[in-house]
Symmetry: C2
Amino acid sequence: MDFYITILGCSAALPTATRQCSSQVVNIDGYNLLIDCGEGTQNQIRRYRIKLQSMSDIFISHLHGDHFFGLPGLLSSMHLCGRTEPVNIYAPKGIRKILTHLFNASGAKLSFELVYHEIETQEPILLLENKKCKVFTFPLVHSVPTYGFLIEEQPSLPNLKSGVRKTYNLSPADILKIKIGEGYTTEEGRFIPSSALTKPARPPKKYAYCCDTLFDESFIPHIKDVDLLCFDCTFDSSLTYIANDKLHGTSVSAAMAAKAANAKQLLLTHFSARYNDVDSLVDEAKTIFPNTLAAYDGMRIKLGL
Amino acid sequence: MDFYITILGCSAALPTATRQCSSQVVNIDGYNLLIDCGEGTQNQIRRYRIKLQSMSDIFISHLHGDHFFGLPGLLSSMHLCGRTEPVNIYAPKGIRKILTHLFNASGAKLSFELVYHEIETQEPILLLENKKCKVFTFPLVHSVPTYGFLIEEQPSLPNLKSGVRKTYNLSPADILKIKIGEGYTTEEGRFIPSSALTKPARPPKKYAYCCDTLFDESFIPHIKDVDLLCFDCTFDSSLTYIANDKLHGTSVSAAMAAKAANAKQLLLTHFSARYNDVDSLVDEAKTIFPNTLAAYDGMRIKLGL
């Protein structure tokens, strides 16, 4: 199963000529979900050739404008393009009132249903489960209620043990039955349980998004062993005093989070407009967590590579 | 005095790869005002190198999302860049409630004052007068309360009649006094009134913005003799039935409005996303009103040329 992230925007609150406000699309085996929706997200979706109507599940980390001011326009464009399928909005409590008020005030009646799933929790909870993945949320540490997301693909079916297919001359239907646990009955009538014919698939891939937030031990258990951790890196460590004041991450705190979570890879995002390039932030993070990359608008990063 | 318009966006509700939602900057002798503020306006302001903080007066024609969804982000960015000077918002009734609710919900406290001038009128009214211009508004014909804007530069000082300067050997101070009506006293003590020494300046230039709207005789008197009329041209005339249903202009109705108003030039805008290029719409308008141009994002058009 392919599992990759497309970065639509990786800027902090003030967008720049090369970085738009926060937004990214997570694709798991063809299923798209959107995380955050800063102003201009619909333009970025077009620019990076993602299907506008492919996103039925939208997750908003918190209600600061740079993470959701693009949502009204995105939904309006879905409406103008004739959408009928509902859109699920997973966002902190308050989003329903904001969008309802905005659409009422502008006289808009969407052609599809908005299904609100307002988040208000102190514990990690499962927000969504479908055939492709599970999405969990958990509280982060920011100036307004802010939530991280953990996206875990559904387990793959087990693999056949080496040689099994030839030994029993299995058809595709036989193989599927074995993989889903129904076992196999030989021509001689001997039943063999699936467990004897298969070996476990690789573990499900996991992606965590933590933005905006301070590094805090409290949420590390919820992002343990992820393949990729995307973390708030608004500032370099020389500006830690500003980061602490504004409750944002730095290159160092992001790396500490990745290390504490035993992540396989770290993706820095949400860069302050003061940085034209972010090489120095990556270098700083690498001193603590070597497998670090910086997000850029249009980046496509595959998990598990 | 220079008087020019910079088009930031000329798309109808659905933005395209080349056209952003409605927004434009009017510059009169260095004074900038913003008309409409679709999503992404702050990006366009940056792209076309207009100073973010130069706009203290923002005019919104109506509360459809494609004309104001960029306003929260623009104001947030002004705040992030340390603005202290107030911003005046001239917009239909309802804008205060929308913005107040949105900023409250997102926990934002702007560093400057928003001064609301909510429009609710059936008659043309003067919205703003300063040293550079007067801005009038008047109702258009659309599905929600929608207002056109007429921007008229302040009259220039009169010009000296030919030869006057040499005849009396005038200093710059003498000239200014004459131009402001104080007349001139010759070395021999003879007083000459300004009227005898000057000829009227050219008439003030006028720009009208009518979007979104049907063509309707009711507002033509308010845009009479403008140098440039920017008019809703969402559709070509073969789609007049849709235009009438949605209360939008067409290439033909825009041209009819320009002709009826005795405008000097017509600028078509607000093009439906169905048109990759709009040459055919311009051609159609030209059959009725020859001096017609199509807006494009980034266009800079000077009045009176």
